[in-house]
Each structure stands twice: as C-alpha cells, then as structure tokens.
C-alpha cells in the first residue's frame, strides 16, 4: 500500500469524522433549545400488560397537555424497574402489584423508592372459568364443587387428572399449594408468560371446552370472554398469597386478597420539586376506567396516545382533581 493512498484514507476518515462531529453538535444544540418548560422531562415506566399501557399514556397525555412536561416512556420489566427507580432512571411506576420483598428492600431499607399507597385500582387474583361451564356444572361456583369433578378439565398433558393452567412466572401465585391444601386432583400446568396463557385459554374457550385457570382483575379481556371466578376458602388473619416466600404451608389456604394497587416514585423525582410529582401523586382511577382504555388499545388497536386523549376529553372532572383544580 503506498503512502499516498494511506494519507488519502486518513483524510477521508478525518473528513467523515469532522462531518459527524458537526452533525452531532448541531443536534445537541437543537435538543438543548427544545426543552424549555419548567416541568422538564418525566420518565414513566410502562409494563407489558394493556392496563399499564392505559395508565401510562393517560398520565403522559395529562402531563404533556396541562403541565407542558416532556414525557419519556420506558418499558422495563417489573423487578428491574425498582433498581431503575433507585438510580433515578425511571421517575414513576403507576401500577405495582404489591411486590412486598422489593418494598422492604428499596422503600424501607434503601429509601431510594417512594411508595404511594393506592392508585384507585383494586387488583384481585383468582381461579377463573368461562361462564358457559356453569350451565352444566353449577357447583363450580365454589372450589368445593370442583372436588371429584376435576377430570372434566383433563387435557393431553394432565392424563387422568384435571388441568389447572398456572400463571405467568412473574406474577404472585400459590396455586400449587392451594391445589395440595384443598385436596384437589389437579395437575398444575405452567403455561408460561401472560400472552401464552391467554393463547391457551382463549383457544379452549373458543371451542367451548372446560378450562380453569389463574387470572385476575382488572383485565380488559374479562368482559369480552365472560369469565366467572371460582370461590376459594375465605381469608383469615395471617393468610398469605406469595408462595415463593415459603414457610408454613397452611397460611396459603385462602382466597387471594383484593388489594389496592400502588404507585411508586423514584426518591430523586419525589424530592426534585417537579410540578409533575403532586399531579402523579393525586393520579387515581378505577378498574372500569382502566378496562375501557385498555380495551380501546388492545382490543380495538387504537394508538395509546389517541385512546388517552379520548378518555381525558370525556373525563375532565377526574382529570381536574389530579391537577388540583
């Protein structure tokens, strides 16, 4: 290779690098000019389920429209997001399903995350069946009626036992323990992540076949699929839901709690004096509100921003409360 060729390459590289630098500087310059509002940038985390998308985009619309904030939406899974809030990378999570272990670690011990109880939503996990099953087996309304009839739910992988479709590994659950404690002849089949579970039971429901599965409210699909909850033993003092905590088996022998869901904020954000914080702190809506917006997004494939706008315009009274007006 001749020296001339080499120097010409160097020149080209230098030219390209120079051009890139100029372009980068130009961009940085314009970006700096853009964010002028007092609110600055707020980072909300959207979780994978449709209800969370509804929360996030309604809050985003309100912050952008009424406070002039710039809202960034991140999509980080449930547990790592605590770490992200602790480091101030994410400002707020609007729906958290009582991750008690994380509350101990991040809220109480590290004090890096601020917990605000209740976002107005009531989360409840349970065992669900499609309503059409009750025509033939009205006794399935409670767990006692399932006893002896488990084989109705049998499937190729459960053999002679009934099949119980278990929940997403990331969700609070104690179904294996419940099945054992209640003496039911079910095989707990782990279908995997939420979309996988939805795929399994909707396929069976479309065929009008029997199916029993781990499910919860609020969930926009419930209205569409017409599901009924099977009544489990009543709750008692000290009764627990998260079987991964281990311990005495007997404490799991009860229905899942109906828990208000929580909001979480990064401590950095909560103490920053951002005008967005008090608004998000007051932010609150009901299961029905969320189901409606979630259905627009996931059921009708409406763009989340559009769905949020539609809801906000129709519910200004609620929004004004959040805004403190």
């Amino acid at each position: 290779m001749s020296n001339r060729l080499r120097t010409s390459r160097v020149r080209v590289v230098a030219a390209v690098a120079g051009a890139a630098l100029v372009a980068a500087l130009a961009v940085v310059g314009t970006a700096g000019a853009r964010s002028g509002a007092s609110c600055g940038t707020v980072t909300l985390n959207e979780q994978a389920w449709a209800g969370s998308t509804a929360n996030t985009y309604v809050a985003k619309y309100v912050l952008e429209k009424f406070l002039g904030c710039k809202v960034k939406v991140t999509q980080i899974t449930e547990i790592p997001v605590f770490e992200a809030m602790a480091k101030g990378r994410v400002d707020a999570v609007l729906e958290d399903w009582n991750h008690v272990d994380q509350y101990k670690q991040y809220v109480q011990k590290q004090k890096s995350v601020v917990l605000v109880r209740s976002n107005g939503l009531i989360g409840h996990i349970g065992w669900f069946i499609p309503r059409y099953l009750l025509e033939q087996y009205p006794q399935f309304k409670t767990w006692k009626g399932l006893k002896g009839k488990e084989s109705v739910f049998k499937s190729p992988e459960s053999g002679s036992q009934g099949m119980f479709l278990g929940g997403d590994p990331s969700y609070v659950q104690k179904d294996k323990q419940l099945i054992q404690l209640l003496g039911l002849n079910f095989k707990h089949v782990t279908v995997g992540a939420e979309p996988a579970e939805v795929a399994r039971f909707t396929q069976l429901i479309k065929q009008h076949k029997p199916v029993i599965f781990y499910w919860w409210t609020p969930q926009y699909l419930n209205a569409q699929l017409d599901l009924v909850e099977v009544k489990l033993p009543a709750r008692f003092d000290g009764c627990a839901d998260d079987a991964s905590a281990g311990g005495d088996l007997a404490k799991y022998k009860c229905a899942y709690a109906a828990d208000p869901l929580n909001k979480l904020f990064s401590r950095k954000f909560a103490t920053s004096g951002s005008p967005a914080f008090p608004v998000l702190k007051r932010w609150k809506w009901s299961n029905d509100d969320q189901n409606l917006v979630a259905k627009w997004i996931a059921g009708d494939h409406m763009k989340p921003d559009k769905a949020a706008e539609k809801w906000v315009k129709a519910n200004m009274a609620k929004v004004n409360v959040w805004l403190g007006k």
């Binding site: 961009v27 970006a31 994978a48 899974t77 480091k87 994380q102 499937s155 995997g192 992540a193 479309k206």
Partner: protein, 656 residues
Amino acid sequence: MTAATEYAPTAVRLEHRPWWRSRLTLSAAIVAAMVVCYLALDRDLSWPASLEWSALTRHLDDFQVWLSDQSNADHPNLIVRILNGISSGLDTLVGWLYDALTGLTWVGATALGTLVALRFGGLRAGTIMLGSFAVFGAMGLWEESMQTLSLMLAAVALSLALGMPLGVLAGRSDRFNSFVTPVLDAMQIVPAFAYLMPVVILFSVGPGAAVITTMIYAIPPAVRITALGIRGVAANTVEAAAALGSTRRQLLTKVQLPLARRMLLLSVNQTILFALSMVVIAGLIGGSGLGDAVTNGLYSNPALAVLAGAAIVVMAIALDRVTEAIANRTDPAQQHLDPTGRRWARLATLAATAGVGLAAGLGRALGAGDLYTRWTAQDWLLARVQSALDYIQDPATFLFRNVTNPIGNFLVQHMLQPLDTFLVETPWFVTFAGLVAIAFVLSGLRPALTTAAMLAVVGVVGEWQPAMDTFSQVLVATGIAVALGLALGVLAAESRAVSRVLRPVNDVLQTLPQLVYVIPFIYLFPVSFVPGLVASVLYAFPVVARLVERGVRDVAPHSVEAAAAFGATRSQVLLRVKIPLARDAIMLGINQGLIMVLAVVVIAGLVGSGALGYEVAQGLQRNEFGLGVVASLAILALGIALDRVTQGNRKRRRDV
C-alpha cells in the same frame, strides 16, 4: 492424551469391530438396561436431599441484596462509581449514534447506509441496504429501527474491539486459549435472563445496560473465530517468516492477520448476527427500539410484534449480506489496483461522502424531519398479519382440527410424556450411570468423567428433577431437529436449487426472535410442551442442515470418483461413500443442534415447557436471583454433559 492422537487409532479400530460391538449397539444396550432398571426398581428415587447444597440459593439471594445496597448507597464506593461511569458513557455513546442518525434526517441516514454499502460492497449490497431502509419506513417502524441500529452499532463495535484482541491472544497462546474457552462456553449457554438483574444493579437500565448484555453474547464468536483464523495460518508460513527474522509483532501484523483476513471478516459478520439475536432481551432492560415493539406487541398487538420481528430479520440479513459483500470486494488478494483504479476508488469515496452530505443538507433544508413518519403501509401490513393470525387462532379450521392439534397431542402423549416419566422417575443413579456409560462408549474416558462431574453439579445444586424434565424435551427436540437437518442438509448438498432456497430460510429462522412466532404456535398446538418444542426445532435444524451440507459437499472428490468408477449409482455413492465419510460433520451437527436447543430452553419455559427454563425466567421476574442462577448453572452443566456425550471421538472443533 491430546484429541488428535486419540482420534486416529480409534477410527482404525472401528473398522474391525463386529456389529454387536459397534458404538451404537452398545449405547442401545445401555439404554435397554436403563429401561429394565426403570421397570424393576422403585419409582421416584430422585437425587437425595442429603447430597444437595440447599443454602446456595439463599447465599446468592443475599449477594444480590448486598450488591443492590452497595450500588444505591448515598455515598457509593469507587467501584460502583466507576461502573456508573461506564454505563453512562455507553448511554452517551448510543445517544450520540442515535442523534447522529436522526440529525442526518431520514434522507441522510438512508443515503449514508446505502452509499457506504455501494462504495465498499458494490451495487447489490447498496440495493439491499436501500431496500432494508425502505422496509423500515414502510413498516412504520423507522424510529424503533434507528434506535435498534444505533444500539447494535455500539454493541458490535465494542464487542469487536474487545473480542478481536482476545481472539488474537487465544490464537497465539494455547494456555490462554484453554483458559478462555470455558468462559466463552458459559457466556453463550447461560441464559441472559440469569444475569440481567446483576447487569441492571451494576449498570442500571437503559442503552448502556442493553449494550453490555448484548456484548456478553456477541463477544464469544468474535474471540473464537479470530482465534480460529490465526490458528488456521499455515505453520510453515509462520516458520518461514520467523526464519527470515520477523519479530513476533511483525509476524502478527504482516503475516498472521493478513492471512487470517477472511476469518476475521467472518467473525465481524457472526458478531453482528449474534448481537441482533439479543435485541428482544435488551429491550427488557431499557434497550428500547424494535425489542420493545416485540415484547409489548405480544401483550396488546401481536401483529405488531410480528412486524417488528420481521424488521429485525431484515436488519440482520441486510447487515449480513452487506458485510459479506464488503469482505469479498475489498479482499486485496483479489484486487490489484493500478493508479487509475486507485484514483477511481478515491473519487467514489469522495462522491459517496458528498452524497451523504448533500442528502442530509437537502433533508434539513426541505424539512424532511429527523425520522421518517410519512406514508407507511403499517396499517395494511398489520391487517394482513392479523388476518393470518386470526386464521391460525381459529380452532374451527381444517389446519387446526386435522393437522396441528392431533400432531401436538400425539407428540405429548406418545413421545414427550413417556420419555419425561422415564427420565424423571428412573432412580437417579441409574440415569447417572447410564449417561456416563454412553459418554464413555461414544466419546471416551475423559468426556465420560466430565459428564459425571457435570451431572453431579446438576444434582448438588438441587435441580435434578427439573433438569431431567428439560432433558427429555431437549432429547425429543434434538431428535426431530437432527432428522430434519440431516435430510435437508443432504438434499442441499446434492442439489444447488435446494441449497439456494434453504439459505434465506435458515437466516430468517436464526434471527427472527422466537417470541414472535412461538405465540401463534400456542394457538396451533395448544399443549404445553409443544410450542417450545417447535421453537427449539426451528432454531436448531438450520445449524444441523448447514453443517451436514458442508460436510457432505466437502467429501474428497477422489473418493466419490473412485466409487463412481466402480459403477456405484448416485444413491450408492451418497449412502455408502459420502455420508459415512461425512460422519464427523454429521456428529458435529448433532452436537451443535443440542447446544442450539439448549439456547431456547428459557423461551420454551416461557410458553409452557416449564422446568429449568421456567425457573430461570422466574429468577428474573420474581426476583429470585438465586433460583435463576442455580437453574442456569444446571442448564450449563447439562449442556456441557450433553456436549461431551455426543462429542464422539472426532477432533474437538469449535465451529460457531
């Protein structure tokens, strides 16, 4: 004893073995003995609890809590601050790349990609690049694609910057090579889900953490193929250069690196593909871009997930073909530029640079916008994909009622469940002894000892039963993948047409995120293990087919000619000459097929295969770090054990 000396005598001995002493017969006899034990002995003799180290999980959990407390303390220590610096540096780097891409406007970005490909890769490469940008725009996924592209550029560049020097080192030093190989194995087999949480604690979330996660998976091919290339330089060339008085440094820069050029470029190419297969995982910790579109689409808009998956495939194939074209065109061995040629080349470079500048300037002046947001075919495409999904999800169709559903049920009832019951319920010591014996028969003493050690690890960490569960599914998936891969590989070796069709199919199957197609498979095969099984088969068979094709095609032509001269028909040549002579490549295919199947264990666990994969996923998503690590260890140990069992007595090779 080295692998090479072990190889030759065994191969000779094999020719004289009577059929009842052949390795296959012996293995079958061992399996038969295991079945007898299974039938005769007590059931449910699982690994004894007294041999388990049950505190391990708790120690690991404590470690994670400690790590998090350290990193979120009010006054973090020096190491934490250094790590924070690294991650924010990486964030800035990815941010710069993204800003540069958007700063050029979409016109300029397209011009940059196309003209660089055109200048260095030729017309075909340029067209491919232009086409891929057009696809991103038409899909309405421009912003996501640019985010993913900037993430990938950073991750690939850093992986190569770290991996290639390590590869050179591994290529020149046997000691370093034997030290680094197991580390690379672990980086590739341990599922990303297991180390996502520590990565997040140390490097927070965002592009920086996503780059690091991607690098963990993309560095191994860079190191391995570079080392392979350096080692592949003929020893006599190196000796000749040394005899002429070259220093070690001159040897490297003037002899070894130039001669290993093609392998170095292959390592660039493979690093790109491996990095792109991490897009979805990176999305889970703030990588944003196409990965997010896939994950979120799964919950609220599956058609969009399919579209985003397709965009990832387009990006992978475009980068693959363009780097390949650049590698071929810029090969100095094929290109002797005279002064006019050089002048032309320089002019072309200038023209390309000017073209990019002009396009960017025009884009800015005409207000083309940073991101392409104009006309897209997204809605139309989504509607098409949705109608295909609706068809797949309709249980009343012929396809479901008469094809997929019965096949799924058959697989579960007659293959997976019996095998699962057999492996899980056979007393542990029988399975243990049986597998070690098979390893001994098939591969020799050392592999058998490694197998024993690895199975012991599986038991000690307390994962014996889920591991056997996973093992049964891995066996069935590998069986199907190998059968399919063998058939297609042999066909492709015999027919150019098949080979030409197979290549893009293989590329798509290797880069399309499994999460995209695995959900539709749940609708088609609604039985828990089967969707995971299908995903594993689809991921593994292309590798088997590729290796078998290469093996059969590379059979020395004189053997084939000799057989043909004796009047052998084409099928005789194939069955009696080519396939037996390609045995090594076929064994390697089986071996690699197994490893690929193991790589899908976590995804399979997420769609109903349960066992180890589910535990790994649970480890991340329920913050049971210890459980996730322990299950990953079991997957790694199972992987190494199976690798050794099927290694055969071929010379150990490290093809990627």
